[in-house]
C-alpha cells in the first residue's frame, strides 16, 4: 500500500503533521559557553540516568537469576525464571493481551479514521462543538465510566467477554485517535482527492486509495498508542472480564504477585520482561513518528 499511483511525492505528509519547521538539530550549540561545562553537564546527566537505570538493572538481573530476591541479584544467566513464568500462565495471559489490544486497536483505528476524515472534509452541523466534545472526552477519567459500564454490561449480559472488553478499551482511545487523525488529514492537500473524484472514484475508494496511504504515519501512531494503552490495561479487564481463562498479562502479573503469600521475585521479573517486550518494540518502531506529537505539545508558543 504505497502511494505510487499518485503524481509526485508528498514530503509533508510523511513528516510529522504539526512540526512544520525544517529539521533543526536536536541540540543547539550554546555559543560563548566555556567547553568545560559540557563535561560537567554530561556527568550530571549521566548520574541522573543511572538513577533511572537502576530499577531496570534489578529487573534484568532478577529475571536471569534463579535465586533472585528483592535485592540486586548477582549476574547469572539462567532461563529458569522464564520457564516458571510460562508455567504460571504467562503465555496464555500474553495471548489474551494480544487479543484485547489487537481487537481494540483495529476497532479504534478504523472507526477514528472514518470519523476523522468526515470531520476534516465534510460539512457536519455543529462541527466545532463536536470537536470540543471530543477533546473533552480525551481528558475524562476512565474510572468514572467503569461502574456504569459494569452495570450496563450486567444488564445486557456482556460481562466476561473478551470482545466486549476490548470494545471498551478501544473506545477509551477513540477520542484521542479522532483528534490525531483529523489533524493528519487536515494536512493533506485536497488536489489528489479532487483528481481521483474526477476520474470517477467513489468516496470510499478515495479514502482507501488516496488519503489512507498519505496519512499512514498518523494511522500508525494512533494504532500503536491505542495498542500500548490497551496492552497495559488493568482496571477495565479486571472488572469487566473475570473469567480465569481470559486474564490478560497485567492482571496475570498482579495475581501472580498476590498469589501464595511468598512473592517469587525471579519468575515475576521474567514475567514482567516478557510482558514488556512487545510494547517496547512497538515504541521503537513508532518513535520516529511520535516525536512529531511531542513537538505539538511543545509547539504552542506565546
Amino acid at each position: 500500500m504505497t502511494s505510487t499511483s499518485l503524481p509526485g511525492q508528498l514530503p509533508d505528509a510523511t513528516d510529522s503533521p504539526v512540526d512544520t519547521r525544517p529539521g533543526r538539530p536536536a541540540a543547539r550549540r550554546v555559543r560563548g559557553e566555556p567547553g568545560g561545562h559540557k563535561i560537567i553537564v554530561s556527568v550530571i546527566m549521566a548520574v541522573l540516568g543511572m538513577a533511572f537505570l537502576l530499577p531496570l538493572v534489578w529487573l534484568i538481573l532478577a529475571a536471569l537469576n534463579p535465586h533472585a530476591t528483592s535485592g540486586l541479584s548477582s549476574p547469572a544467566f539462567s532461563l529458569d525464571n522464564f520457564r516458571a513464568a510460562f508455567q504460571a500462565g504467562a503465555g496464555r495471559a500474553i495471548a489474551n493481551s494480544l487479543y484485547l489490544a489487537g481487537v481494540s486497536t483495529v476497532v479504534a483505528t478504523v472507526v477514528s479514521t472514518l470519523a476523522g476524515y468526515v470531520l476534516s472534509r465534510h460539512y457536519v452541523p455543529l462541527k466545532g462543538l463536536l470537536l470540543v466534545g471530543v477533546i473533552f472526552l480525551t481528558g475524562l477519567p476512565v474510572t468514572l465510566l467503569l461502574i456504569p459500564i459494569y452495570q450496563i454490561f450486567v444488564k445486557i449480559n456482556w460481562l466476561n467477554s473478551p470482545f466486549y472488553t476490548s470494545l471498551v478499551l478501544g473506545a477509551t482511545s477513540v477520542p484521542f485517535a479522532i483528534w490525531l487523525l483529523k489533524n493528519f488529514i487536515d494536512q493533506v492537500p485536497r488536489d489528489f482527492e479532487e483528481a481521483a473524484a474526477v476520474e470517477g472514484s467513489g468516496q470510499f475508494q478515495i479514502l482507501l486509495r488516496v488519503v489512507v496511504p498519505l496519512i499512514m504515519p498518523g494511522i500508525l501512531v494512533s494504532a500503536i498508542l491505542t495498542f500500548i494503552n490497551s496492552w497495559g490495561a488493568f482496571l477495565i479487564p479486571l472488572v469487566l472480564d473475570s473469567s480465569p481463562g481470559d486474564t490478560p498479562g497485567a492482571v496475570g502479573i498482579y495475581e501472580f504477585i498476590t498469589a501464595n503469600g511468598q512473592v517469587q521475585f525471579g519468575p515475576l521479573a521474567a514475567y514482567g520482561i516478557l510482558f514488556s517486550v512487545p510494547v517496547i518494540i512497538m515504541y521503537i518502531i513508532s518513535s520516529r513518528w511520535l516525536s512529531g506529537s511531542f513537538s505539538f505539545a511543545g509547539g504552542v508558543k506565546g
Binding site: 528483592s70 456504569p148 459500564i149 477509551t172 477513540v174 497495559g232 505539545a297
Partner: protein, 307 residues
Amino acid sequence: MTALTRRRATVAPAGIRERQRLKASTLAWLTPASALLIGLFLVPIGYAIYLGFTNLELLGPTAQNYSFTGLANVRRMIHDPVFWSSVKLTLIFVVGSGIIAQTILGLALALLGQRAHVTVRASVGSVVVLAWVLPEIAVAFIWYAFSQAGGTLSVLTGHSNSDLLSTAPLLIVSVANTWRGTAFSMLVLSAGLRNVPQEADEAAQLEGASYWKRLLRVTLPIMRPTLMINMLLITLGTISDFTLIFAMTQGGPGNQTAILPVYMYIEAFQFNALGYGTTIALALMLIGALLSVFYIRQLRPELRRAR
C-alpha cells in the same frame, strides 16, 4: 490551538468548496465512532450521574431493587473522613509526584540534554523513555521489589531491614510514579525548548546575562504555555491513576495510599457499594474539571494570541 489556525490555512485555498449540506456518507462514516462514543462514554456518564445518587450495591437485595436516594451519598461523602483524606492524598500525589517532580526532573533532563554530550543525551534519554514505555504493572512490581526489606532502595537509603512500602508508602508510590512519568515531561519540554527562538537568548547573552538569569527571565517565560499544557496533561494522567498504586499497596496500609480512584474501587468492588463508589468517581471528575479550568484560564492570554 495550532491545529485550528493550521486548519484554516489549509482549508482556505482548497479547490472544492465544502457544500453546506449533509451527505449520506457523512452520517454513515460517523456512525461507528458515534455509536462507540455514545454507548461507552455519553450513556455511561449520564448513567453515572444517576447511579451516584442511588443505593446500588454489587450484591444482595439492593443489587436489583436499588432506588434513588437523593443526596444521601453526598451527605455520606461529606461526613466520610476516609474520603477527605483520600482527596488530600490525591492532591499530594498529583502535585508532588506529578506536577512538581516530573516537571522539574523533565525540565532538568531537557536542559541538560541541550548541552550534554550526544552519547550521554541519547542513552540517558532512552533509559528514561524505557521507564515510561514499560507497562504500569511492571513498574509497580519493580518498585514493590525495590522497596521491600532487603530491596535495593531500602539498602541504599540505609533501611535495609524495613519494608519501605509500609513505613513510607505514599513516598514510595510517588517515587515510582515520578520514575515512570518523567519521560513525558522530558519529551514535551525538549520539544518546547527547541521552539524557543534563539534570537531572544542571544540578545540577553549579548547584554551579559548569566545562564541562570537567561533561563529564568527569557527561556522559561517563553515556555510558559508549554509548561502549562505539560502540567495539565500530567494532572489529568495522574489524577485517575489506578494500576500503579493498587498493584503496589491496594491503597494501604490503612488507606495511606488510597487516592480517589483506588478508594472508589475499594468502596465499589470490595465493599460492594457501587452507588457510593460512583459518587466518589463523580467527585473525582469534578476535581479534575476544576483543575483543568484553572490551567485553561492560565493559558487564556496565549490562546487569544494564537487566534
